[in-house]
Symmetry: C2
């Protein structure tokens, strides 16, 4: 690899927006959009924790951005740009950084964002990455986890559980002949651009596991959530695997679908707002202890031991 500054100039500076000042200053300079609130979120991806050594650098870059973009989507925000930290162990080939930057460039174009700034470092042994995304939302229009009301319906976009099944396929414990589940695990699609303010009462993205993430809405809204496991939508590729893996699908996370709570009277507006994106009603909120009840088709309780992913 060339020196640190020539690497930045070659691979990262072309990704910078005017806010990045060519990545030659101490910090980024940003004029906030007039009359808007800003939304900030940050997420990291560590080799051996969030991705597998040898994963394609381009997909790692895009997943790093998309996990953060999904947090903005869950707040109803429009993305603007990001700051990036990279720490690469000595001996990392320059092609790694080139492909990583290609992935960033692709998703910058797809999601209309620019690099504002960052920090690059060496690492001891494993790659360590983080991104801070900056977006905006009209004042009062940010979606929150805390607004759910008794009687509200619980909805999810897309299909749930593909990513954890894709990870298992990559680990060799199940068969994914189409590669669909693997793709969903490696390159999620954040559900950007839905105009849900005034329609949903609470929102979160499914990053750590459906049951655990819904539990956050329960706690912040102080309500019980009841979901019907058989209603939780599955992809055709997941359906091919039969009825096994139910608990994995409900708790696996990494899908980056939106979990939305809305009054029953808003159902039509919600479906319309989602356009071509499928959305499925899976349960409802009620008064009671702040936790999630999972029911099978007969109405019997399904016991779930570990509701989602936690870091040790």
């Amino acid at each position: 690899m060339g020196d640190e500054f020539s690497r930045i100039a070659r691979y990262l500076a072309p990704l910078a927006g005017p806010e990045g000042l060519g990545l030659i200053d101490d910090a980024a300079l940003f004029t906030p959009p007039c009359g808007q609130q800003l939304v900030f979120t940050t997420d990291q991806m560590l080799e051996g924790v969030h991705f597998i050594p040898g994963d394609p650098p381009s997909l790692i870059a895009r997943k790093l951005l998309r996990r953060n973009l999904s947090d903005l989507a869950a707040m109803g925000a429009t993305p603007l740009g990001y700051l990036l930290t990279t720490a690469l162990p000595p001996g990392t080939d320059e092609s790694w950084l080139a492909e990583f930057a290609e992935g960033l460039a692709k998703d910058q174009a797809e999601f209309g964002i620019k690099l504002f700034g960052g920090d690059s470092s060496s690492a001891l042994t494993h790659i360590s990455l983080s991104a801070t995304l900056i977006g905006f939302v009209a004042p009062g229009e940010a979606l929150r986890r805390s607004g759910a009301k008794p009687g509200d319906d619980i909805w999810v976009t897309g299909t749930i559980g593909d990513a954890v099944l894709g990870l298992q396929a990559r680990q060799g414990t199940l068969h994914d002949p189409s590669g669909y589940l693997t793709d969903r695990s490696m390159l999620p699609t954040p559900r950007m651009g839905l105009r849900l303010a005034g329609i949903v009462s609470a929102a979160i993205d499914v990053s750590d596991g459906l049951v655990q993430d819904l539990g956050h809405i329960c706690r912040t809204s102080n309500l019980t959530a009841s979901i019907h496991a058989h209603l939780v939508p599955k992809s055709p590729a997941a359906a091919l695997l039969g009825e096994n893996y139910l608990e994995a699908r409900l708790t696996g996370g990494d899908d980056y679908e939106l979990l939305l709570v809305a009054p029953p009277g808003n159902a039509d507006r919600l479906v319309t707002a989602c356009g071509v994106l499928p959305i499925t009603r899976i349960g409802s909120m009620s008064r009671g202890v702040a936790h999630v009840i999972t029911l099978d088709q007969s109405g019997s309780l399904i016991s779930i031991l570990q509701p989602g992913w936690q870091h040790f």
Copy 2:
């Protein structure tokens, strides 16, 4: 340790400002100060790269914030808040996080900032940390690296080279009887709050090494910088070490002093703006190739092989 969410609630949520929404939402919600530009910067600290395993968690936390604060100071910005990522290996004692949070709290109070949000993860083997700082500056008042003019003077705040000598003291290769150099290495003082807009033509903080950081001003301003090594201010503790270590002091970095370039006619205003903070003229800018010339007391060239810290 308790689970991830109870650790966040216990140690980090008390640090959050209203923008952090109690650290229970997907992202932070921030209303920008009216009519200001925002300044964003991010820096990471990795165990074994930026700090020594076993360093006090409170000092690691404060240095993480201060390195970022120094970047805001170099842009003339006032800090507001930050996002934090932490990745801790399994088996990290809960007291580590408690002391880390105490350090954050101390510097939040000292510098008037709040936690806006973040991400916590497990790590494989070593601690990995990053912070993104958010500040503001009046439109047009941001200090840049690119504005130096021929004939401008080069100044530095405080003393240069203490941090690298402190690191050497910690490594046992030199003697630091007062502990001053060690303290400067572990807990730098960012030079916040100086009102330098309209006085200096270029600014950067000394993070990677005086010669290398001045080189950034040379390249972005397309000028030659000449500095006189004997004028570069040293602390009493560094002076005790005699004339050795000159190159280390000029290239070691990690001091987080400000390197300022200003027209000679602004010298009085610059000194006044720095108040009780000592500031020393060490050279001047001239037309020529964009590089740094270092001279000794007799005016002879000092050859410097490696102008500063680079990540592999």
